[in-house]
């Protein structure tokens, strides 16, 4: 077993809907080290949030984890009994949800949110001590501690997201999963929140999983990037590799289609077609109907994740051994 903090192995998640089974996540494996940031990018429906939620075994109802192992510090997360699982959420893996407006309890003060969390996990702590810690946490996320008695509606969107982050780091977890932490926020606030997450990661040595649809954010902020398309990892590599040497046609297309403010006279190219319907996936590679270099084999077989560098893997037949580029 390697020394990684968390090891995810061949994870497959399905939603069993009335219209049929949807494979939201298929055969996803990765590992994460301490104080590392991994970025998961994909469009809506690519399975990136489902993947994040399955790390804490919280996939919503019709969904179930079909296959795979998640090993956190030597423990198998998916086989834990319910109580242990509850302990693990918050203490080991914490989740910052996308929408800070709805994920705080509107009738509870900020302090109460944090105190409740701390005392649930560590009942021996007195309320006074917990409050003290809450104040320090608010300070950490750059909110004035005297706002501890405010209700969520008294805060702006950015501040609410900061409170969510304070909750996430309250028990000093080893992994923080941030699911689109800045989608509802303005650019300036977004930059501040991301700076904050980075600073906290360095201060507490947490690992950070950053889930987003915005490739620019993860290119700028993460060590490694996982590009997802229709439930598959299509490319997984260090962010520098993704930027300078993208292999998968989808990643290449994404890179060409995002505007870069530091370039003048940029020519953007669109990826043709639209994301597939997960109930009605194309046969073979899931990307071939939109791919500029699809050939016969792509239409019949699903490509495996092929190693294309020491830390670089790509799900594309172009890089199959024995095939000339």
């Amino acid at each position: 077993m390697s020394q990684s903090l968390i090891n995810v192995d061949a994870l497959t998640v399905e939603y069993w809907t009335r219209r049929g089974k949807i494979r939201a996540v298929e055969d996803v494996s990765f590992s994460l080290d301490k104080a590392e940031t991994i970025g998961i990018v994909g469009e809506s429906g690519s399975g990136k949030s489902t993947l994040g939620l399955s790390l804490i075994n919280l996939v919503p109802f019709p969904g179930r984890i079909i296959k795979g192992k998640i090993i956190l510090k030597g423990k198998e997360v998916l086989k834990l009994p319910k109580d242990d699982m509850r302990n693990l959420r918050g203490k080991e893996i914490c989740y910052v949800f996308q929408d800070p407006m709805t994920s705080l309890n509107p009738v509870k003060k900020l302090g109460d949110h944090i105190v409740e969390l701390i005392r649930t996990h560590e009942p021996q702590i007195t309320k006074q001590e917990a409050l003290k810690r809450a104040k320090k946490l608010l300070k950490d996320v750059e909110i004035q501690p005297d706002r501890i008695n405010d209700y969520p509606h008294q805060l702006s969107g950015g501040m609410r997201q900061r409170v969510m982050i304070a909750l996430a780091i309250a028990l000093n977890p080893s992994i923080v999963v941030a699911d689109e932490p800045t989608t509802a926020l303005d650019v300036i606030v977004q930059a501040k929140i991301l700076d904050l997450l980075n600073a906290l990661r360095d201060a507490y040595g947490m690992a950070l999983i950053l889930i987003t649809h915005d490739l620019s954010i993860v290119l700028q902020r993460s060590d490694r990037i996982m590009v997802m398309y229709a439930g598959h990892i299509v490319e997984y590599a260090p962010s520098i590799e993704i930027y300078s040497n993208p292999k998968h046609p989808y990643t290449q297309g994404l890179l060409k289609s995002i505007p870069n403010i530091e370039l003048d006279d940029q020519k953007l190219e669109a990826i043709s077609g639209s994301p597939p319907d997960l109930l009605n996936l194309p046969k073979g590679c899931r990307f071939w109907p939109r791919c500029y270099c699809a050939f016969e084999k792509c239409k019949s077989e699903v490509p495996p994740l092929i190693k294309t560098g020491t830390e670089h893997s790509t799900r594309c037949f172009l890089y199959e051994e024995g095939r000339k580029k």
Partner: protein, 325 residues
Amino acid sequence: MLPIRRREKKVSQNEILRVEHLKKYFPMEKSFVEKMLTRTRHFVKAVDGVSFSVLKGEIFTLAGESGCGKTTTGKLVAKLIPPTEGKIFFDNVEITTLNHQAVRMFKRKMQIIFQDPYASFNPRMKIGDAVGHPLEIHDIAKGLEKRKKVLEILERVGITPAERFLDLYPHQMSGGQRQRAAMARALILQPKFVVADEPVSMIDVSLRTAIIDLMLNLRRDLELTYLFITHDLAIAKYISDKIAIMYLGKIVELGNKETIFSNPKHPYTQALLSAIPVPIPERIRKNNSRTNSKKNRTHRRGTFRCKHTFRLPLSHKVSIRQKSL
């Protein structure tokens, strides 16, 4: 008197829209007790003295954070809401004082595309009917002729084969297709001017570029002028000719694309630019001399707070906002 007139004529030759000191104040709700006790009314100054002009064939962008009044300005220009004060000239005609009949004629020339393609269609109306509806409202075409025109415009915006989409309901289409249909609906009256309010912010990243390219092609083919409203300066840089940066209801900086991006003057513009994620990994950017502005950029973001408090005429508001971020 005479010289002024002459000058106006000269300017107006290829000017399509001119906005002068436009204001829109929304009255704030008061509680019952306050209504009884006080006479003073409080207003939200959504748009507070905005002036600009747009030349024919230009793409003029209003950019800013949420709440800066950019959407309200768009709605005022499209005459969806009446202004509190100020004048709007469209084709040298004052539109704020038009009578009913003239407004109808005006609305043929000016159309608007909304941000949310999910909400801007009647869910019970088939796409063909929704797109053709403006023709009926304006008594331009009916029956077979209408159908022909609808098919033509749908093909034009890239919804092909158009026949297949006529009888679909909005929920049966993807987000990108719906936004294309929204454009078709706006363009079917052959307007000269289109207000595009965040047309791509709700659309998946891989489809955004295609929509933007479509907008650019349509401008060329149909000789359109756009008022483009966005919070994403990277897209603004790609698409626009002129940019106005708005903050708290005022335009704080207005200029050509080149000057705004290469030499931003206002501290707010600088802060906004520095906050935009750049799709380049940090390590590469640090090594790259041309983009070695990271330090500079964060520095600017840091100084934004103090500089503003004495530079902006709205300093007190800014400092309050800063605190709440």
